[in-house]
Structure formats: C-alpha cells, structure tokens
C-alpha cells in the first residue's frame, strides 16, 4: 500500500478549495536504469474526488503527471465539517483512498 495522501480542504465563501498531495513514483516507462533496461511504467491512471460520498470529479492521468502528484480543484458549496474523499488507482491496480474534513 502506498503512502497516505495529504489532503487539505478549505472552505472560503461558497467554495471549497481542495489540495491533494499523493505519494506515488509516477514512473513514465521511458527512463532506463543503470544497466540500460527500461524501467516499466507505473503511474496513477484514475483519480476520483468525492464530497460527502458523492463523486464531484474524476480524472484520468497519463505518465506525464509529476512524481508525488499534486492536485488542486475547487468544489462549489462545501462547508466546515464536510468530508472530502480522494481515491486513486494506478496502472498496476493499486488503490488508495483517503479522507479529509473541510476546514
């Protein structure tokens, strides 16, 4: 299991800005190791964001997203105490899901 995500959700007015840092290698499949062999691609493909259990956004990523990806998005509505859930799945089928509370 991968490292936990760091999620920060801050409500301001009628919007909630969510910032997520995920811990993932995001290997492109283009790099070579010291013996000249290609390092196989390993990256997050699908990301799902939920507010109080309802999906508000999904994303599909390619290997061009940076290592330890950062993601920021803005949810309409949302108030202190609401639950934000972010899930990802990589191309090896690994999954991770983490929650945060809106502050």
């Amino acid at each position: 299991m991968a490292d936990p995500m760091r999620i920060r959700a801050q409500a301001a007015g009628d919007k909630t800005t969510v910032r997520v840092l995920m811990g993932h290698e995001m290997e492109t499949g283009q790099r070579k190791d010291s013996s000249g062999k290609l390092i196989p691609a390993w990256y997050i493909q699908q990301v799902t964001a939920q507010l109080n259990g309802k999906t508000v956004m999904t994303a599909q990523w390619g290997p061009a997203v940076s290592k330890n990806p950062f993601l920021q998005f803005v949810v309409k509505g949302g108030k202190a105490g609401d639950k934000v859930t972010v899930m990802w799945e990589d191309n090896k089928g690994d999954k991770r899901s983490d929650d945060a509370t809106v502050s």
Binding site: Q30, V56, M57, A64, F70, V75, K76
Partner: protein, 155 residues
C-alpha cells in the same frame, strides 16, 4: 448420446452466460469512464482530437492556462487549467512536445468549478495547452509557451 444439435445449443448457452457475466461489467465500466488508453498514447494534438472523437479545437479567450514562463526543473512544472464558461465537461492539460501529448484529463461535474491545477513533467521547452471540452462537443483551448532548462523525462 450427445448430438451435434445439443453441442451447438450448449455452446450458445455458454456464450450467452459469458455475455451476461463478462460483457455487462465492461459496459458498466465504460460508462463510469474507462481509462482512455488511445487518447493517452496520442503523439500529436491531431491524433488526440481523433482519439477523443471531438471536433478541431478553437483558441478561446475564455479558457486560461497557467504555468511558469521558465521552468527550471522539467520534472515538476505547475500547470493549471480553468475557464469561466458554463457547461464544461472535461478539462485537458496537454504538453505539445512530450512523447504523449495528453498529460491529464479531468472529468468535471456540476459540483466543481472548471478550475484545476496539477504538476506535470516536460521533456523540453514546449507549448502547454489547456483544453476545455464543452457539453456540446466543442473544444476550446488556450496555450502558453513554457521554457524548460532541465528536461524531466530523461534518466
């Protein structure tokens, strides 16, 4: 004794079962947004548009792409895409000269604003595009040149 007719009948049943068990989940997954491998493998913007089945993108002032003018480290380039237009279905972030053009595709719902930011890798100085796919199938884009001093795709 098993006749030819029986065998055929059984294989038809098996096929039907397979269809019920195997095919339906595929359909369900497709609706939930299966990973669009073709789009992520597209090498040029034209290929990508074809893979997404969209019309040719048009430059628009209502779409904004944010990013640095010069990125010192191509492995971590902060890029954002946003638009003020209503009815955006998807936001794409493209890097023109990367091995695969599309870096990320965000599928939006009514509950989020059309404003996302992330960090991408860039192999070399290139144009970065933010593309908004509207509900009516129109593609609107904004572009910005980002110069990279150290590429993020090498070893």
């Amino acid at each position: 004794m098993q006749t030819r007719r029986d065998v055929l009948f059984h294989s038809a049943q098996v096929a039907a079962l397979l269809a019920a068990a195997g095919m339906l989940p595929t359909l369900a997954r497709a609706q939930a947004g299966a990973y669009n491998t073709a789009a992520f493998e597209a090498k040029t913007v034209a290929d990508l548009v074809k893979a997404l089945g969209a019309s040719a993108p048009v430059e628009s002032k209502d779409v904004t792409v944010t990013g640095p003018d010069i990125a010192e480290n191509g492995a971590v380039v902060p890029v954002g895409a946003s638009t003020s237009l209503p009815g955006v279905k998807r936001l794409l972030i493209l890097v023109e000269k990367n091995p695969a053009v599309m870096a990320a595709m965000f599928e939006l719902t009514d509950a989020v604003e059309a404003n996302v930011a992330t960090r991408v890798k860039m192999g070399q100085s290139s144009n970065v595009y933010a593309v908004a796919m509207m509900a009516d199938g129109k593609m609107l884009f904004a572009q910005k040149e980002v110069k990279v001093t150290l590429g993020g795709c090498g070893g």
